[in-house]
């Protein structure tokens, strides 16, 4: 569609990029249909097309962000279902990234909102702080209903509600070092330990390390790795996000230069989407652009990498698995078949829940910052999953696991936990009986 920017505006590379993205949009409206917030709220302002238009208007007029625009951009889950749907190839992800940075730079949020966001940004990316926070949250849980009654404090209530009821054990899977393969070495990879995941559910990377070792892959847990930056990136805190990115790029580049890497394995698809975008995020940084692009090219979801290993086909098991495709998996990384094919090859019966394209409402910190919409999406997701009558749920993202687990009694696991079990690992504790 038509755009209206001055040459001076276009001299800013971020604006120039957004202009190119906007030019692709033909305003056909297809994106509205698969947008979780539009489907829930029925207002075009809470749809991709509406947001694109709000962003266009704001950027063209060189205006600071205001309450109206912020409200509707904040409601975006960044699930990227619209990107899958868009026939014109509108790069909504980078447009909304730009908008979020613009908001962060030009808009002063209400005090409570500022405090909550600062708290999240200061705690979630750091495992040690996050572990302490979870302990405190368990103590604070009785206050959740009280907080939920005050609209501005609802995010705090949501935080307390989401905190797991018991502390996960501390695993050594995040300790730096090299894990040797159990059979002849056929590959060498680095693994992202992540920030929230090892605290919430260390079983995931434990299973990954076991499975890779069993199939001859040497795994490096590099010293100095940290949060991928996705959490703060989605809050528009770009400098903080880029710092995380640079740090990881440095760490992995060191590994690439020393022992060589076939892949950088990621077991949380939310992180995968961001790491695969490092090349873009750091494109304007001459010192990092090339290194970041190299890292992005090596980044692989664990199921992508396992698909290259030709795992043996196993006898069918009597276990029905509902596969929930995380948005960052299916829309962000366009990985749709690999996890299901792996599960099927390992003998599981895989079922696809209806409305699989719709987000579960987790979306990073969304279930904390937008608890009402998130709760509606969770209920819808759980309804669709339970309709499959599956025994367990498999997915590839810790956010979805936490979100969906808080809404259903069906056990939910990471895909790799089921695969590890099928290929000789211990039975996951979450699987009942048998």
């Amino acid at each position: 569609m038509q755009t209206n920017f001055t040459l001076a505006q276009l001299a800013d590379p971020h604006v120039a990029e957004s202009e190119q993205i906007l030019r692709r949009c033909v305003h056909c409206g297809f994106c509205t249909a698969t947008c979780p917030t539009y489907v829930t709220l029925g207002n075009e302002l809470d749809s991709p097309r509406g947001r694109i238009y709000l962003i266009k208007d704001m950027l063209e007029n060189g205006r600071p962000a205001d309450e109206e625009v912020v409200t509707h951009i904040d409601r975006c889950l960044s699930c990227l279902a619209c990107v899958t749907t868009c026939p014109s190839g509108v790069d909504y992800m980078h447009l909304v990234d730009h908008a979020r940075i613009h908001i962060e730079n030009t808009y002063r949020r209400p005090l409570i909102d500022r405090l909550i966001r600062s708290l999240l940004a200061a705690v979630l990316p750091y495992p040690a702080r996050f572990r302490i926070a979870l302990g405190l949250a368990r103590l604070g849980r009785p206050f959740a209903p009280l907080l939920n009654r005050v609209p501005a404090l609802k995010p705090l209530g949501a935080m307390l509600d989401l905190a797991p009821k018991s502390t996960a054990r501390v695993s050594d899977s995040a300790n730096p070092g090299i894990r040797a393969p159990e059979i002849e070495k056929r590959g060498r990879v680095a693994i992202l330990s992540g920030c929230a995941q090892p605290v919430l559910d260390p079983d995931i990377n434990d299973a990954t390390l076991r499975l890779l070792a069993r199939f001859g892959v040497e795994v490096v847990v590099p010293e100095g790795e940290g949060c991928c930056g996705a959490l703060v990136h989605h809050m528009g805190r770009e400098e903080q996000a880029l710092d995380f990115a640079r740090r990881n790029v440095d760490v992995w580049t060191r590994e690439i230069d020393n022992g060589g890497l076939d892949a950088i394995i990621i077991t949380a698809s939310g992180c995968g989407t961001t790491i695969k975008d490092y090349g873009h995020m750091l494109r304007l940084d001459p010192a990092y652009a090339d290194k970041a692009a190299r890292v992005s090219n090596l980044a692989k979801d664990i199921t992508e990498y396992l698909s290259t290993l030709d795992l043996p086909r196993l006898e069918p098991k009597r276990l029905n698995v509902a596969y929930h495709s995380a948005c960052s998996m299916q829309h962000g990384q366009k990985i749709t078949m690999a996890p299901k094919n792996l599960l099927k090859a390992a003998g599981f019966t895989v079922r696809d829940p209806g409305e699989g394209h719709l987000c579960c409402g987790s979306a990073g910190t969304y279930n904390i910052l937008q608890p009402d919409i998130s709760a509606q999406l969770k209920a819808r997701k759980v309804r669709n999953i339970e309709a499959t009558k599956a025994d367990v749920i498999a997915t590839g993202n810790i956010g979805c696991i936490t979100q969906i687990a808080s809404g259903t009694a069906i056990p939910i696991l990471h895909t790799v936990e089921l695969l590890d079990w099928a290929y000789g690992g211990p039975k996951p504790e979450k699987i009942p009986g048998r």
Partner: protein, 479 residues
Amino acid sequence: MADTISFLKPREAVLSRRAAIIADLTELLPPECLVHEARELVPFETDAFVSYRRLPMAVALPKTTAQVAAVMKYCNRYGIPVVPRGAGTSLSGGAIPQEDAVVLGLSKMSRILEVDYANRTATVQAGVTNLNISEAVGIDGFFYAPDPSSQLACTIGGNIGMNSGGAHCLKYGVTTNNLLGVKMVLVDGTVIELGGKHLDAAGYDLLGLVCGSEGQLGIVTEAVVRLIAKPEGARPVLFGFDTSEHAGACVADIIGSGIIPVAIEFMDKPAIEICEAFAHAGYPLDVEALLIVEVEGSEAEMDAMLKAIVEIAGRHGVKTVRESQSATEAALIWKGRKSAFGATGRIADYICMDGTVPLGKLSYVLNKTSEIIDRFGLRVANVFHAGDGNMHPLILFNANDPEDAARAEEAGNEILKLCVDAGGCLTGEHGVGIEKRDLMRHQYSEADLNQQMAVRYAFDEDWILNPSKVFPLDGRPTA
């Protein structure tokens, strides 16, 4: 922004009372159902006919028929124009508002109210998407037949307003042939019901009048639509030709020999390339024109019909014939076709024409269209419902170049006149909207047009319902 097509001059009496009107609407609707902040109105200024834009005064997003009626009654009392909006996917500008208008959006009324397999009907709210109906009943072996390419997003209310068609309408008919009843709010807020679950209603066929009336006779809030049992099987087959003429002549010959496949879709080379780039459906890239012919029924029925079609195509020098090999491939073939317009956005801005011509004239009109496009120094991609002669030349242009945009519009007008002069009509399924409004006199005599306006006048004396659309702005009857 393009400015050849004008809108009615905003009513001063309405504009000057803006604040009071917003305050009154606030009384009528819950807060989440009313949009009136300046910034938030901008995304409602246009639809998929994005070259034209007008900011509305407010946007009402009611959740119930009662709320629609309350807003309608209020607007009627004060002479406030009302522009209905479904998903805003109109290609003719049917949902573009104007400065003195309240947009009445049905997007919050998107529930399927009842499915009645015994009577083969679904009762739905107007804001439900076309595809949602088929998805809701698909598991039980039924579907709703009219399938506009925008069916993923467009609403049944909008389909009724425009009497929308789609690829599969060749066999099953357009919206009006699949609509059994509506609940509608009249301009004064009265709620009426037309039709029902039966094939005919006593008295006048007002339902037929409402379908295709572009939101000018009332606001449809619920609809009863016909459900059809899915065929045993369906198979799209690709036929590639060396020239558009051969493909066009082949279509006329298929239909002329008494064969009615479910769909016959046409794509020329530019359209094939655009769709392939998005859908990776395996369309042949070495042909000048492609027909997607879908047959359905039992294996034997499909084979028999296909054999007859292949024979006819052979007489027209068909170069490649390829049957889809799997359900996935069939889905991709349709995904590519149905995304054609949007996918065009990858290479250029476009306006989409909707003229319909007699099948015998397809090749002639395609040739003439190329001549017109060449004369204006533009590019075109043709992708359309060939089986019913419903052409969609997509005129490609650069929206950031006002001269190019003006040329595209002018070329479009010539193409539409060409369709009418060839014995066809201005619009096959997208509606008149604002886009074709000023060409209505090329299609109709003064008497024809006056009779249509008399009907409209009978429903809405003050012309407040979607007032800038369908009829040329001059020569309208007034109170």
